[in-house]
């Protein structure tokens, strides 16, 4: 049994079960409530912003960016809430950064640019 056996076997199994699920879905049609895609897109965008910003801009900017993007959507741009969220998350980050003693770049790092 080589390294590829398990993935291959599972892939075949997944194709079979996937086909069964698909056939079941076609046989018994049912009404589904269409989901609003906005929360999905906003949450993913906010987190993706963190992933993109963390290296070049540093932790503090990345946190503020993520919080602000989601707060804009969730709170319908109430400035006070965004400010509060930003202050709290920066406080958490600084506290945890000190507590865990992590080698994190807090501020924008020109060398990455």
């Amino acid at each position: 049994m080589g390294p590829g056996t398990m993935p291959t076997a599972l892939s075949v199994l997944l194709i079979v079960t996937g086909a069964i699920v698909a056939i079941e879905g076609l046989v018994r049609q049912r009404m589904t409530v269409p989901a609003s895609l906005a929360p999905l897109v906003w949450v993913l965008a906010a987190a993706a912003a963190f992933g993109l910003a963390i290296r070049p801009l540093g932790l503090v900017a990345a946190i503020i960016l993520t919080t602000a993007i989601l707060a804009v959507y969730a709170e319908r741009t109430r400035v006070a809430h965004i400010m509060l969220a930003v202050v709290i998350s920066v406080a958490i980050v600084l506290m945890l950064g000190g507590f865990l003693n992590l080698p994190l770049a807090l501020w924008p790092n020109p060398r990455v640019w």
Partner: protein, 478 residues
């Protein structure tokens, strides 16, 4: 009565100054997370998982257990607060169960189940040791996963598809024996696999966030005051919870009421925060705490998680290099008995903590009224930060995102997230044991299937799948 001295040894471990602080702090965090909207027990533990890596193994595990227990014991309180309970005042005239009674129900369920686990653990370990060759172990894993699929709400075909997907995704990364990259597409970041923490934070925290922002009214419904509903007693609640804990029952606690009407009728009798009437809260509280304690019987003695919370704790243990299984009790008695002692000690801490929190009065009620929409950005920023600290890798943030979207897709299509998580955790274990048993049988599958225990378990699995399908079909016809 040997286990009494062992348990005392466990208590000595838990009661060291650092561990004591962690236990109290974790329990407090868990209760606060439970009262705040939209943070399930699984999400609270996922958020704590990266923190625990920096700690010593025992301390890290205590942090996760105390957060899990705090979150579970806080849920009845959260439900009462939503129903209009005012801390610090007599509730007798409102027809609500008293808070003390509900908390005692939680603690009773948890401690009674833990004592049963303490008594049974060494027996199950011994049976496990004598019976379990790799082939049997692999068969047990398959059996447990399929029982989980049969017990999951929704159709068994979907549950099995989710399990297979979880197993498949767990094979991504370098092969343990040969080091060959599997499903990595030569992407360097995939060499270590998709990452359990990415999956946990994605599937629980990010998914719950997308759902919470989708659902109007934040998806929390206050329990009503209907008088004639069937409520579990503390005894029957604890019994039901114990059984649900040792069996792989659906793991995720429903933080949000289901968003479409088709699923809305499913009320989890074991979740204190999802009940129709306040009268059902004490029984559900006893059941939910008994379930978590009971799930540690298969977890500690066989290394098999039966729900999402147990799977998260198993992954936490594994990351610290500790692999629970039949030999856990003899090889690492300090951790084994420490964990069990924690399950008796932390509920007592919580009893005191919750009583103290009653003194907060109104501000406690205010905590449950926090708007989820203003909380979500903070949780997301923390989750991104936490996931980044694990490997100092920005790619992990994107993995977490992907799992979050996948988890949202699962919940939209009635698939069980907990099973996906359990399958992902058990995948490497399953593969290792299948490989070893094939090595012993020199590549002959038939020889493995002729082993009596393997044949029985796999036969039972097939019967279970077919039975569940027929039962579901009959339910649809009616």
């Amino acid at each position: 009565m040997e286990f009494l001295s062992e348990l005392a040894f466990g208590f000595a471990t838990v009661l060291s100054p650092t561990n004591l602080v962690i236990c109290i702090g974790g329990a407090l965090l868990g209760v606060v997370a439970a009262i705040l909207p939209g943070i399930s027990a699984a999400a609270a533990i996922s958020l704590a998982l990266p923190l625990s890596f920096g700690l010593a193994p025992m301390t890290g595990i205590l942090l996760m257990i105390s957060i899990a227990l705090g979150s579970l014991y806080g849920r009845p309180l959260a439900a009462l607060l939503l129903a209009g309970f005012e801390p610090g005042r007599s509730q007798a005239d409102k027809g609500m169960p008293s808070f003390a009674w509900v908390t005692i129900a939680s603690v009773t369920g948890g401690i009674v189940a833990t004592i049963l686990v303490v008594v049974l653990a060494s027996v199950v370990s011994t049976i496990g040791l004598s019976l379990l060759a790799p082939a049997e172990y692999a068969a047990i894993i398959i059996f447990v996963l399929i029982v989980g699929a049969a017990l999951a709400p929704g159709r068994i075909s979907r549950a099995i598809a989710v399990i297979v997907l979880g197993l498949l995704l767990s094979t991504v990364g370098s092969d343990l024996e040969t080091g060959a990259g599997r499903l990595t597409f030569d992407i360097a970041e995939l060499a270590d696999g998709l990452g359990f923490v990415n999956l946990a934070l994605g599937v629980f925290v990010v998914t719950d966030m997308i759902r919470g922002l989708t659902t109007p009214g934040e998806g929390r419904s206050a329990p009503g005051r209907a008088a004639n509903v069937s409520a579990l007693g503390i005894g029957s609640g604890s019994t039901l919870g114990f059984l649900a804990g040792i069996l792989p029952s659906s793991g995720t606690s429903l933080t949000f009421a289901a968003d479409d009407a088709e699923v809305a009728s499913v009320v989890d009798p074991l979740d204190p925060a999802g009940q129709e009437s306040v009268d059902q809260i004490p029984g559900a509280a006893a059941a939910s705490s008994a379930r978590l304690s009971a799930s540690f019987l298969p977890l500690l003695s066989l290394g098999i998680p039966t729900n999402a919370v147990a799977a998260l704790l198993l992954a936490g243990l594994t990351i610290h290099g500790i692999v629970p299984g039949p030999q856990f009790a003899t090889k690492q008695p300090q951790l084994f008995w420490g964990v069990l002692a924690a399950f008796i000690f932390i509920p007592c801490v919580l009893l005191a903590l919750l009583a103290l929190m009653m003194l907060l009065g109104r501000s406690l009620a205010a905590l449950s009224q926090v708007s989820y929409r203003s909380l979500a950005p903070i949780i997301l920023a923390y989750a991104c930060f936490a996931i980044y600290t694990v490997n100092n890798s920005a790619v992990d943030v994107f993995f977490m995102l992907g799992f979050g979207a996948l988890g949202y897709f699962f919940t939209r299509s009635d698939c069980e997230r907990g099973l996906f998580l359990i399958a992902f955790v058990l995948g490497p274990l399953l593969e290792e044991n299948v490989r070893r048993s094939l090595l012993v049988a020199s590549g002959n599958f038939i020889l493995i299937l002729e082993r009596p225990i393997v044949a029985t378990l796999l036969g039972a699995t097939v019967v279970l799948v077919l039975g569940a399908r027929m039962w579901q079909r009959r339910a649809e016809v009616q």
